[in-house]
Every structure is written in structure tokens, then in C-alpha cells.
């Protein structure tokens, strides 16, 4: 249905904020490591990734079509302790179950209408 999702920055081993110069350097380094004669498929992927990033306008479009990272916290929030004591609300909930507060069927209170 649609093209597979590929992050060109990942392919070239770059961060999204990489400069144009860094992109170019990474590309040539990758091509050197994976020349087309030896690994044509890998080269094709590298080339495609580079093509998506080399032109600033194309790069902007590519960036907008990439999954945006969720800013993961450097330090997670402290979780609350598991409360294992009986809360007064628990006691009241038990007592409440013994009253008519949440009763729904009140037919016994219906009165006959005579006109």
C-alpha cells in the first residue's frame, strides 16, 4: 500500500540536527565502507538516503515526513508507593453498599395513580 518507512538519518548514522557538511561527510564515509561493486543494495540505500537529505528543500520535506521523536525523560518521575493500608474511604464504601444509596430498582415505592 505504501512505501516502507526509512529514516535516512539512521541509514547514514546521523542525528537529525546534522549539518549539510556532516551529511556529506557521513555519505562519503558510508560509500567508502560500502562501495557499489561490493554491496550494491547497501549502496543503493545509502544513496537514496543521501538524495533525500542533500538538498535543503528536499531535506525539509523529508524531515516533515519522519516520525517525530518523543522527548524521553532523562530521569523518570518517582512512582508513588503502593498504598496497602485500609483507607476510611474503603470502610465507607463498604457501609455504603449496605445502604440504598446506589439502589436502582425502586418499583416497590411506586404508587398507583387513580383518576
Amino acid at each position: 500500500m505504501s512505501e516502507p518507512y526509512v529514516d535516512p538519518y539512521e541509514t547514514l548514522g546521523l542525528v537529525r540536527s546534522a549539518s549539510a557538511e556532516e551529511i556529506k561527510r557521513a555519505y562519503f564515509a558510508m560509500v567508502k565502507a560500502h562501495p557499489p561493486e561490493r554491496s550494491p543494495e547497501q549502496f543503493k540505500r545509502i544513496r537514496t538516503a543521501y538524495e533525500r537529505l542533500r538538498d535543503p528543500a528536499k531535506r525539509r520535506k523529508t524531515d516533515m515526513l519522519l516520525i517525530q521523536p518523543w522527548p524521553e525523560p532523562t530521569r523518570r518521575k518517582r512512582p508513588p508507593d503502593l498504598a496497602l493500608s485500609v483507607d476510611p474511604a474503603d470502610v465507607r464504601a463498604t457501609l455504603r453498599a449496605l445502604t440504598d444509596l446506589d439502589r436502582t430498582d425502586w418499583r416497590d415505592q411506586h404508587e398507583k395513580v387513580l383518576l
Partner: protein, 797 residues
């Protein structure tokens, strides 16, 4: 007493059946007579006696149709539980005490119905109508109690108990409410607090006070004892709460399971606690502390999965627990797990799954605070919907993203960058709504945005685009004019205006605006390039209509804004057509200086020499081209076919269809073009594709030249059906009918063997056309026209 229930059989409402009334309700009135209050004209009520009854003015008056008496209408509605209709029917008669009581009952029943809209108002009205009926203040208190209005509820319970001191239900609720309002208090002084009710409340009070629960071996007593053990953190709690006897109220059963889970957790068995709480939550039984406790255990499990890198399991757990409200830490971890799982699903191409995860994350984030902006989630969600072609949802997600836009940036460069991103999002909204068949929605989006910021010209530009997409051309033009009213030199709008003027052939005005725009934006290369494009387009238009002098001017003016090699090339061609002195070499040199890195520029330059009939210059330029550019086979094909196009006779429909081609005349130029094609073939002798391009191009205009390329194609691929068909046609066009038929027959056989039925049919049809004018027609049709011959622009650079 009896009465006509229809009520219109005369002015009399009698206590007997009206003898003149023949309706069935009138007859039924005799049965109900003793229970019905009489009613005259909606105002007079009396217990009529026969003496007091006025006599009918006209005897024998017919009774009107049944069902028009509001009482009867109301009664029927009431009896069929249509309390709304009963209230409407009885309301005008509320002054009648019996009707008032009936009306109060209708309000009461409607208030206690499942679909009650405003039960408290209904009960208040019922209490007004029947102030002595204590059911109404009781339920008013109960509903206000449930709604959290404890003070008002207490007042109502006290009202009930002041009239009915022995009302157990009200006393229990008042006791509960008192504990809710004031915590651990003495309940013995509450009205109606009998010894039995004190005993009823004693276990709860004991637990709240941390005292021993009164001895009671019943199922309920054991439950209270278990809760008491839990409060004391006694190890006996688990055993005590494992009692399975039936409790007096069904609502106590889930509570007992809930307490069992606390007991399990207290004894360190959090797995058992987790299972019990999870089951209770899934079943919809949610005691006050359940979500918080379940969330705490879920957080532990989720953290373990996240830390272990089990992205899928963590995502699924976060998804399953998405509706549970928990701590900020739980929300933070769920968002992290869901986003990771969504990203992994997207990377695998599972976009529906990714969309589900991101949407859940978005929902959690919308309930949480301080966990970051929803922007990445909206963005990713929109991408996921787009991948699934769920265009409307994608547009909505982009739209939601657009709403998160802030305008606080101060850095100018960052502002431009950010603005370009938002512009992209807006374009995306338009295209998604367009794909969803809803361009109107895009218009709405931009109109709303413009209302908030009327001077955002970029937004107005997007609106103009959306209007255009919605086929509202005039409205789009109006929007452009509005932009120009705000900023007469806003580049995008002015360029659009220039395009409009050009479309109306108002070239002078358009060019004047274009000059002004370029003058105002000397540093904006993009604007200058677009202005140059305007002049290029005008020049081409002029040249098509043989206004070569104005075309030349346009090409000269355009060149000052952008270094496009087409400008000097076209200037050279225009001057030659105008028979004016021209330094073609200098102009070509200028073109090569700015566009020499492109093969197209060389091809146009060589073609220009050919148009000037400067054969030696063309050859010299080709030699330079070969030296400087090291042409590939494709470049030679491009050059050869371009030259060939320029020397072949101009296209006419008849040329393709019926008339025979003009007699070919070989010139040094055609030989040169052929040399280029030969060089291409020499460089890639086995490339069937290149052979086919050349053969397809030459077959109709120069079958004699096409022959050798067609033969070479078949030599390199003897069993290729396409190549054989081409050769067959070329042979047929050259008059070698027998050989053509044999070749096409062979092509048909191979196509049939390979299951290529379309090619088989074509080869057979062509074979039958060999030796007749039909061969050209069939081939022309099969080629669907040779577009290269039809494009007048190929004659101009």
C-alpha cells in the same frame, strides 16, 4: 359518579354516563366514575351531584372522538411509562389535587428512570406537588448525596426523619453521610438511630477507630472482621477474607475481592493482588482506591518491560491500561512505552497498530499535565493515518497539530524555518482533505485561522490555494487581491496575480509587476527565479505566435533575473529567425557557462548551430561536448533524436495515419544525427531499451533508418517479442512484406507461448496489415501517437 372521559359531549361533565355520548370511553367512564374528579372547562372542579348538574343545552349532541381529555391522555401515557407525555397532559390540570398527585408520581417515576435527564428538578417538582409524600425528599437527598451535595442531602434526610422517625433507609443514609462529612463521629445522636441501626454501624465505626470489630460470625460480620485485620495489618486478614459465604448485598461481593487483594499485597503476593484488581477493574467494579493501587502495580510491571526492552509487550500493557487514571509517573511511562511501540510498529510497516498506540498516547497526554507538548504525537498520528489513506483523520490530526502553534520565536532564522514547517503542514491539511473529498473543510480550517490572525498573509495564501482546490476560482482570486491590498508586494500573491494577468494575455501589466517585484526583492533568489520564469513563459508564448521580436525581448529581460541557459539559446534562435545580426557563438558560450553541467544545454546549443545551418560549428561543439562531458549512451540518444527531430518533416495527423511519408532526403545533418545514435548503440550494444527507443522514434518518419537498429535489437535479443514486432513493422514499412509477415508470425508465436495475449493480438493484427496502409495506422495506434513529434516546444529551447 360517571363521566365522559372524552370531555366534550356537552358542557356538562356528569357523574353519570352521558346518554348522548356513544363513545367507548364514555361507557368506560361508568367503571372509573367513582375515582374521577369532575372537571369543567379546566377551571371548575366539584363533586357534582345530579341536582347540581346543569342540563345539556342540546340533547342528542354527539360525543367527540376519544382521547382528547388530557386526564385520559395523561393516564394512558403514564400507564405505558411515557412519563414525559403524561406530564405534558396533566400539567394544565395541576390545580386538581388528584391530578397533582398523579403528576407528582409521573415526575417521581421519570426521575428514577434510567434515562432521566434532570432527576433532581423532577423530584423538586414532585415535592412541590405533594409536599406530604416523604418519598420525594428522601430521593432528593439520595440523589444530591450521590452528586456530592452533602449539606443539601442532609437537610432532605432530616426532613424525612422529622416526619417519619422510623425511616430506616433515611437513617442509614444520614449515618453514612455524617461519616463522609465529618469522619469518625458519634452517630448515636442522629435522629432515628435505633439500637438495631447502631449495631449496623458499629463495625464500620470500630474499623475507623482502630478498635476490635464486634463479634459476629455471619458473612457480613466476617467481612468486617477481615477489614479490621487489614487495618491492623494482621496476617489473619487473608484467611478471614477468604470466606465465600454470600453477603447480604450484592455490592459487597466485589468489595470483598478488593479487600482480599489488599490482604494478598500485604502478605507480599502482589501477583494475586494484581490479578484480583485487574479483574475487578475490567468488570467495571471500581472501589475508591482501586485505580490508584492497580496503577501502582501496573507501573511496576510496565517499568520492568520497558527496562527489559520488550517494546511490544510494554506497548500492549500501556494500551490495555490506558483508561486507568494514575500518577504522573505512570502517565510518563505509558507515553514512553506507547511511543516506542508505535515507532517500532511504523518501522515494520504496521501503520494501523502504530496509529492506535499514538492515539492512545495522545488521549493519556490530554488528561495529564506537565508531560510535554502533544506535537510529536499529532505529527506521527497524521503520518500513520496518511499511510493508511485515512485522509480525513489525517487532516484532523494535522489540524490539531496546527492548533498547537505558538508565536513566541524571536530568532529571525528560526522563525523562517518554523514558518516553512507550518506552511508545509497547512499544505498537507489541504491535500488530505482533498484526498478525502472534502476540500471545503480545508477552506473552513483556513478561514477560522485567518479570523484569529487576519494579517497572516501566508495563511491567506493557503486559503487561496484551498479555494482553488475547491474549484472556487473567483474566491481564490479575491483572496489574492485582499493579500495585495494588505501588502501590494507580497511575493507569492503578486506572482499569482502575475500568472492571472498572463493567462488573460495582459503581458505588459504582468511584466511591469514582475519587474517591480524583482526590484523589491533583490536578495531573494527564489523570487528572481520565479520572475525569470514569467519572462520565459511569455517569450515562449510570443514565439509560438510568431511574435519573435517580443519573444526576444522577453528572453533578454528574463535573463537579467536568473542565469538560465535557455535565455541566451532562445535569444540566438529568435535573432536568427528575425534575420538580425547575431553572435550565436557568444550566446551559446554564455549558455554553456551557466548550464554546461547539463547535457540538455549542450544538446540545445548543438541544435541551435544546426538551426543556423552551421555544420562545422555543430561538429566542433559536439567534439567539445565529447571532450568535456564524456557522454554516456543516453546522452548520445538524446542528442541524436533531438537533431533528428529538427530535420524531420513537421508533424501532421495525416503524416501518422494514412498518407505515405515524404521521400527521405539524406543530408549531412541526418548523417550527423545517425552518427550520434550509432555511437549510443556502440557504447551499449546489448541494451535493448536503447535500441527500442531509437526504433520507435524512427519507424514512422524514417523506416529506412530504423531498419538497422531494429535488426540489431533482434540480434541481441532474438526471442524478445517487442523487438520482433518492431522489426516486423519496420520491414513492412520498407516493403519487405514476406519477411515482415514471417517476423510478426514468429513474434505472435512467442507471445502466445509466454501467455502475453495482448502482444499476440497485436502481432497478428500487424501481420494482417502488412502490405496495406493499415500497417501504419495499426502501428500508430499501438504507439498511441509519437509525442516527440507533437511538441512544438522541442523546436524552441
Amino acid at each position: 359518579m360517571g363521566v365522559c372521559l372524552a370531555g366534550k359531549c356537552g358542557r356538562i361533565r356528569a357523574n353519570i354516563v352521558n346518554p348522548g355520548c356513544s363513545t367507548s370511553s364514555c361507557l368506560r367512564g361508568t367503571r372509573l366514575g367513582s375515582l374521577i374528579t369532575l372537571y369543567v372547562g379546566g377551571g371548575l372542579r366539584a363533586a357534582f351531584t345530579p341536582d347540581a348538574m346543569p342540563q345539556p343545552k342540546r340533547s342528542g349532541r354527539k360525543c367527540p372522538p376519544v382521547g382528547s381529555d388530557p386526564r385520559e391522555l395523561g393516564l394512558r401515557a403514564f400507564q405505558s411509562s411515557r412519563f414525559e407525555a403524561a406530564i405534558v397532559a396533566w400539567q394544565p390540570l395541576a390545580a386538581d389535587p388528584a391530578v397533582a398527585r398523579a403528576l407528582a408520581e409521573a415526575y417521581f417515576r421519570r426521575a428514577l428512570g434510567i434515562l432521566a435527564i434532570d432527576p433532581i428538578s423532577d423530584l423538586r417538582r414532585a415535592a412541590e406537588l405533594a409536599p406530604t409524600d416523604m418519598r420525594f425528599p428522601f430521593h432528593l437527598g439520595r440523589l444530591q448525596h450521590r452528586a456530592g451535595d452533602l449539606a443539601a442531602a442532609a437537610d432532605h434526610y432530616l426532613t424525612v426523619l422529622s416526619r417519619e422517625p422510623g425511616n430506616v433507609a433515611a437513617t442509614k443514609l444520614l449515618a453514612l453521610l455524617t461519616l463522609e462529612r465529618h469522619g469518625d463521629v458519634d452517630l448515636s445522636n442522629l435522629p432515628g438511630m435505633s439500637p438495631a441501626l447502631k449495631a449496623w454501624a458499629a463495625p464500620a465505626l470500630a474499623v475507623l477507630r482502630g478498635q476490635p470489630v464486634p463479634a459476629d460470625e455471619s458473612a457480613l460480620g466476617t467481612l468486617w472482621r477481615g477489614i479490621g485485620h487489614l487495618t491492623a495489618r494482621s496476617p489473619a486478614a487473608r484467611a478471614t477474607l477468604s470466606d465465600e459465604r454470600t453477603l447480604p448485598a450484592p455490592a459487597l461481593e466485589p468489595l470483598r475481592r478488593y479487600f482480599r487483594a489488599i490482604a494478598a499485597a500485604q502478605s507480599g503476593d502482589t501477583d494475586a493482588a494484581f490479578k484480583l484488581w485487574q479483574r475487578l477493574y475490567d468488570a467495571g467494579n471500581r472501589p475508591p482506591g482501586l485505580e490508584e493501587r492497580l496503577a501502582a502495580l501496573l507501573l511496576e510491571r510496565l517499568a520492568a518491560l520497558v527496562d527489559a526492552g520488550d517494546v511490544v509487550a510494554a506497548g500492549n500493557l500501556a494500551q490495555h491500561s490506558s483508561t486507568i487514571s494514575g500518577s504522573a509517573a505512570f502517565d510518563e511511562l505509558r507515553l514512553l512505552a506507547l511511543n516506542r511501540a508505535a515507532s517500532a510498529a511504523a518501522a515494520d510497516g504496521s501503520w494501523p497498530q502504530a496509529a492506535t498506540f499514538w492515539d492512545t498516547a495522545r488521549q493519556i497526554l490530554s488528561r495529564a499535565q506537565g508531560l510535554g507538548s502533544p506535537r510529536p504525537l499529532f505529527h506521527n498520528l497524521a503520518l500513520a493515518y496518511e499511510r493508511q489513506e485515512r485522509w480525513e483523520e489525517a487532516a484532523d490530526a494535522w489540524r490539531a497539530l496546527l492548533r498547537t502553534r505558538t508565536r513566541k520565536r524571536t530568532d529571525a532564522a528560526a522563525e523562517v524555518e518554523e514558518e516553512q514547517r507550518w506552511a508545509w503542514v497547512r499544505t498537507r491539511i489541504i491535500s488530505c482533505y482533498r484526498n478525502a473529498g472534502r476540500p471545503d473543510e480545508a477552506v473552513t480550517v483556513f478561514r477560522q485561522a485567518i479570523k484569529l490572525d487576519p494579517n497572516d498573509l501566508d495563511l491567506r495564501m493557503q486559503l487561496a490555494d484551498a479555494l482553488l482546490a475547491n474549484e472556487q476560482e473567483r474566491a481564490s482570486q479575491n483572496e489574492i487581491m485582499r493579500i495585495l491590498e494588505i501588502d501590494p508586494y507580497y511575493p507569492d500573491a503578486l506572482l499569482r496575480r502575475i500568472a492571472q494577468l498572463s493567462a488573460l494575455w495582459q503581458y505588459a501589466e504582468a511584466e511591469q509587476l514582475a519587474h517591480a517585484l524583482a526590484k523589491r526583492n533583490p536578495d531573494r533568489a527564489d523570487v528572481r527565479r520565479r520572475v525569470a520564469d514569467v519572462f520565459m513563459q511569455h517569450g515562449r508564448q510570443h514565439s509560438q505566435y510568431r511574435h519573435f521580436d517580443t519573444a526576444y525581448q522577453a528572453f533578454v529581460e528574463g535573463e537579467q533575473y536568473h542565469d538560465d541557459p535557455h535565455f541566451p539559446i532562445n535569444q540566438a534562435r529568435m535573432l536568427r529567425v528575425l534575420r538580425q545580426p547575431v553572435d550565436t557563438g557568444a550566446l551559446i558560450e554564455r549558455a554553456l557557462t551557466v548550464g554546461g553541467e547539463r547535457t540538455e544545454t549542450w544538446v540545445l546549443a548543438i541544435e541551435t548551430w544546426m538551426m543556423a545551418d552551421k555544420f562545422d560549428d555543430a561538429r566542433a561543439l559536439i567534439a567539445r561536448f565529447e571532450q568535456e562531458r564524456t557522454p554516456r549512451a543516453d546522452d548520445y540518444v538524446q542528442l541524436g533524436l533531438h537533431l533528428m527531430t529538427a530535420i524531420l518533416p513537421p508533424p501532421t495527423p495525416a503524416f501518422f495515419l494514412s498518407s505515405p511519408p515524404p521521400k527521405p532526403v539524406d543530408t549531412p545533418w541526418s548523417q550527423l544525427a545517425l552518427d550520434m545514435l550509432d555511437k549510443a548503440v556502440m557504447l551499449r550494444p546489448d541494451d535493448l531499451h536503447i535500441h527500442q527507443i531509437i526504433v520507435n522514434f524512427l519507424t514512422l518518419p524514417r523506416p529506412d533508418l530504423a531498419r538497422r537498429f531494429a535488426e540489431r535489437a533482434v540480434q541481441s535479443a532474438p526471442d524478445n517479442v517487442d523487438a520482433l514486432i518492431s522489426l516486423g513493422v519496420v520491414l513492412g514499412m520498407n516493403g519487405d512484406d514476406a519477411e515482415a509477415k514471417a517476423t510478426l508470425q514468429r513474434a505472435a508465436k512467442l507471445a502466445q507461448r509466454a501467455g502475453q495475449l495482448d502482444l499476440y493480438g497485436l502481432a497478428q493484427e500487424l501481420r494482417r496489415g502488412v502490405g496495406t496502409p493499415m500497417l501504419r495506422m495499426i502501428y500508430s495506434r499501438a504507439m498511441q501517437g509519437a509525442n516527440a513529434f507533437d511538441d512544438p516546444d522541442t523546436f524552441f529551447g
